[in-house]
Symmetry: C2
Subunit: 314 residues, 2 copies
């Protein structure tokens, strides 16, 4: 198997509250800071920056104040001039880019691990914005082997880095940990613990990698984003006229085949999946996606080969 | 058994969206309006007023805009003068009091059935603000016998009617249908259907009662509100430092005994229930109660005897 040599990781950030009502990260970041205060930096294998990304939204317990922060990290928005009417989150994105980036430069932090929750039954999902981000794919492989309390899955988007809109795209190797199901504004101990276990496993992996050992590659199973499905809506008012069908609700990553129930209208009729191609729904009934016109995403399951990697001796 | 004669019911309201992000009611009220348009009023046994209580909060998908609407129906707030600085919800409460009340007068509507969701695992809970609201207690008894898809329970508060703060207190016989678990801003088909089934069963009961038949009384099991428990909080920042313990989460209406796990701190320590008196937790980990300083309520289970009732011939 191919062996790829990559620079060791020198700096890493763990960010929570990028969406202010996703509470696991909002509480895990202060918990990491408490650990640092109590036990010192040496507990971590790498200098760690902890960030609460959207303090105003956290204060108001909202996803965002003016604009979804996690859609503000494109090169275009990061370089847009600030005026009096610039949304709060665009200012904050530029601040975070100064702190952790600048994006797409050598000065950018090696890794951002951004913490998210979803109301969908997604277990612990690792979301990557590149098919060849070997560091992230190896981290997924490690987490999937180590974590047994929740299912661990990999969701891949393939977006050119300049167009990538999420916070972790500011770093060289961005990774998003998405844990659910958890309602907005609620912290559940089981979901919090899954996220804590995930972050600890990421730090363990970084320690192994930085030690210079060869990290063996192999095949993993990836879910590749294909398209989105919206709720059936009233043509005039645009409000949904159906909910996700009980037979689909909570079944993220299942296989949706032609004829399977997809929605149940509020008057009791079943709407079925009519496409020929069977696909895997993810982010089923995520609260934040109603306004985005998304009932769920559809992904294609695909085996994905990861090369062995090794950190370059410093 | 005692037989109490009561006036037949002449007008009823079903209200949704009193909290703008509790989506079952937000979608059920328009569905009732669609049914009326399609099939006419005669499908219901009683003239029905349908109300979306907090349109602005529904539009913004928030619990409330300025102030929790469902705390605004005390006699004091309903009679307070309107000024430029009056919160939106106080104005709206007074509008609703004009439409459905006035509270504590003969002109008040006979029954308000107010639709709510909770993030807690409460099944279908009937909340009443008086221990002798026989109509509501009979409706509970009927729903508990008829509905088999979700557990049906009765939660009793004993608040003088003038101090009762919730919308249904405007009517002569107020009832609140609380269905969960459902995240804020999400509609789940199973929870929506439980609420729809609940409203249909209320309407069935009204038909039976208005027919003049004797409705047999009997003993029911009631949960009486006793007190509230807050999250352990940081003494300085006042933010929670623990989540509801996994062994308590989702176990609403269970019996909490001295020594049982209650919270799990974010650093991993268990906080136990220390009181002598075993009680029943309800509304465990409700999203909207973080800001109110409530992790859960504690209730006492008590048998409650309901007399037989009969509608007075008109």
């Amino acid at each position: 198997m191919e062996l790829i040599t990559l620079p060791a990781l020198h700096r890493m950030a763990v960010c929570g509250g990028t969406h202010g009502n996703e509470m696991s990260g909002v509480f895990l970041v202060p918990e990491l800071e408490r650990q640092r205060k109590e036990k010192g930096d040496a507990i971590w294998p790498i200098p760690l920056t902890t960030v609460l990304s959207n303090p105003q939204a956290i204060k108001e317990c909202k996803r965002y104040v003016d604009k979804d922060l996690n859609r503000c990290f494109t090169s275009a928005i990061l370089s847009s001039p600030i005026t009096d009417s610039t949304p709060y989150e665009v200012r904050r994105a530029q601040e975070l880019n100064t702190l952790l980036g600048p994006k797409q430069t050598n000065d950018a932090i090696d890794m951002i691990c951004d913490l998210h929750n979803t109301t969908a039954n997604m277990g612990l999902s690792i979301i990557c914005y590149s098919h060849t981000n070997w560091i992230c794919l190896h981290i997924f492989k490690y987490l999937q082997a180590k974590i047994t309390t929740v299912p661990v899955r990999l969701v891949l988007l393939n977006i050119p880095i300049g167009d990538a809109y999420s916070l972790e795209s500011v770093s060289k190797y961005g990774i998003s940990l998405e844990v659910g199901p958890q309602p907005q504004g609620v912290v559940r101990a089981d979901i919090f613990n899954a996220m804590k276990e995930g972050v600890n496993a990421v730090l363990d992996w970084v320690k192994n990698f930085n030690s210079g050992e060869v990290i063996e590659g192999g095949d993993v199973e990836a879910f590749m984003f294909k398209k989105t499905v919206d709720y059936p809506r009233d043509p005039e008012t645009k409000t949904p006229i159906a909910a996700v069908h009980p037979q689909l609700q909570d079944r993220d990553f299942c296989l949706l085949k032609r004829g399977d129930p997809m929605f149940l209208t509020f008057s009791g009729e079943t709407v079925r999946y009519e496409e020929e191609e069977p696909l895997h729904p993810v982010f089923i009934n995520e609260a934040a996606y109603y306004e985005k016109g998304i009932a769920f995403h559809l992904a294609q399951k695909q085996p994905w080969t990861i090369p062995s990697i090794q950190a370059k001796k410093v």
